[in-house]
Symmetry: C2
């Protein structure tokens, strides 16, 4: 017996995960999106990295991320091959100021009981030989993983039913489409990333677009593949290289406020390539196969927004740099909320109350 119908606006990783879990829980589910899988989730690198994303003062986000990361192996196993990589993450510091930043992060993580190994340059190169000899120090974080976001989206997409149209407003009981028609549903979920702010007045000041550019590289002749995710601070700019099973590397990501612009800039590509080369010199032997930009949905405190916005309407956005990581816990929380069940304690930090 169906619990009723749920309509999800937005076919990124959050919206599709919600639809999939809702189906599994006994709902009828439909996803409203004019272009499924074309936004930030598609452009993303695929890191599942709560620890290396951590920062003093953001403990609730760390706990939420860790709770979701614990769900990932089962989430992935139920979906099939989504390219989950369990080799872990290393973080490299380029100059002494970068090393100081990493030491602050390591000390903070130790103070809250997280196990992070500080390593010298040679120690890091022993486990990831492609790192530059100018990397003097860093961290090893074996628990921070990665997923092939495009494989994942492909699998999730195959499990969903779609209305291929833009939503222009959301109310209890219905999604109003750009063509004036409506999709009726017992529960409505706003999971439209940075565009969520246009769908409900409550979200207008809580979600903003943060642009990110990313490059995809494939190994050329003589290129040495990476095994772990390599993150780095290069003159304070964060950079990551996420390897895929087939040798591809996703190199990201710039981060700046440019509205909904998704053009790739010369400046962004230049910075990514130079920073990557300084940390992993061998990237110059790779082929550049794609450059793309996406728009993250960011919130004032970097925490996602997972809550009722009004009776009948749930929001699940504001996942910023953590959409892939937080998909399992967000999906389960939204489905629990829609069904009137309690949500995990870690998700309380994502409530709208007092934000």
């Amino acid at each position: 017996m169906s619990l009723g119908k749920i309509a999800v606006v937005g076919a990124g990783v959050i919206g599709l995960s919600i639809a999939w879990r809702a189906l599994a829980a006994g709902w009828e589910a439909v996803v409203v999106d004019p272009a499924p899988c074309s936004g930030a989730s598609w452009v993303a690198g695929g890191m599942l990295a709560p620890v290396t994303e951590a920062w003093p003062g953001e403990e609730p986000l760390l706990e939420l991320g860790e709770a979701s990361l614990r769900m990932w192996p089962e989430f992935a196993a139920e979906l099939g091959d989504v390219g989950l990589r369990t080799e872990g993450t290393v973080v490299a510091a380029f100059d002494s100021a970068d090393a100081e930043q990493l030491a602050i992060l390591a000390a903070h993580l130790a103070s809250i009981g997280r196990d992070v190994a500080q390593m010298s340059g040679p120690e890091l190169r022993r486990i990831e030989p492609s790192l530059s000899t100018s990397v003097r120090s860093g961290l090893s974080v074996p628990g921070d993983l990665a997923v092939d976001n495009r494989k994942l989206l492909g699998v999730l997409r195959s499990k969903a039913a779609f209305v291929h149209e833009s939503a222009r407003a959301v109310r209890a009981g219905e999604v109003e489409l750009a063509d004036g028609s409506v999709v009726r549903a017992d529960a409505v979920v706003i999971a439209a990333g940075a565009w969520s702010r246009n769908l409900h007045p409550r979200l207008n000041s809580l979600v903003r677009p943060v642009k990110g550019e990313i490059l995809r590289l494939r190994p050329g002749r003589g290129a040495v593949p990476l095994t772990r995710t390599v993150r780095a601070l290069v003159e304070s700019r964060p950079m990551y290289l996420v390897p895929r099973e087939d040798g591809e590397i996703v190199l990201g990501a710039t981060q700046y406020e440019a509205g909904y612009d998704t053009e790739v800039t010369v400046k962004g590509v230049r910075d990514l390539l130079l920073d990557a080369e300084r940390v992993v010199p061998g990237v110059t032997e790779f082929h550049l196969t794609e450059s793309a930009a996406g728009v993250r949905a960011s919130s004032p405190d970097n925490l996602p927004l997972i809550d009722w916005v009004e009776p009948g309407v749930i929001v699940a956005t504001g996942h910023h740099r953590n959409g892939l990581l937080l998909a399992p816990i967000t999906a389960d929380a939204v489905v629990a909320m829609a069904g009137g069940e309690p949500v995990p304690e870690a998700v309380a930090a994502a409530r709208l109350e007092s934000r």
Copy 2:
């Protein structure tokens, strides 16, 4: 009355120009290519620049280029809008070794009676204000032009009839296709660029592929468009920025021997972006819309090959960096040869004899 049928192998700018001029002369013409307009001519920047390509010892190439450049205004006018730009070219020197190279070129051009203006940095910036203040000297060459190669190919393509199949051999009277069938013709022309070497044994040692990578940029907010073609030597690496009417800039080109590889390398993109930024700092405000690689058809002496390879079979390849420039004179020469008429004196340098 038709002069007979001409079959041209290769739908780049050379092959398509030959087919178009052959039609105009009264031939029936067919172009054999599995993927018209997808090779070096499509990737190219579109410079029509015999003078800034000149080098001591290559006077026959300069004369051939100048003869073809004189034909360009009429060639373009007959085709319609092909984006011919007549604002001219400036060449900038980055460091003192680059300035010395340009001085050698300027002295050489003066010694053979060509009019080239040596300019200081401020003089260059007066006519092209986007040039970096670190450009200390250079040349102005108003006669070196540019064309929108993709507009040109589009127009030429619309005038041709095609057989969409690969050629695997060429003999007097026929082109043998990959599927085993043949296209019969009274005259056969090999204009398959770097692939020409596989079509006739005579060409095997005379044509080789030289890879080139190129980027296409579009102005972002606040970007200042160029008016002239800007060429530069940056630490001995030649670089060019060719502006289009709509503000697009084509940034090229790397040059190396990598067989028929057409992957875009991280190294190539990095060098192009950094060198362009050093000469025109404002390029960082442009969007990167395309990166591509092509394979030039190069000859041992940089001169093209325009001649009979055997009775009934003409070759027109080996145009290296000058395919767009040399298209008019090559097309007219080939059509004259096929019709038993004399070819312009400048084309004698492109004969196979003694090469």
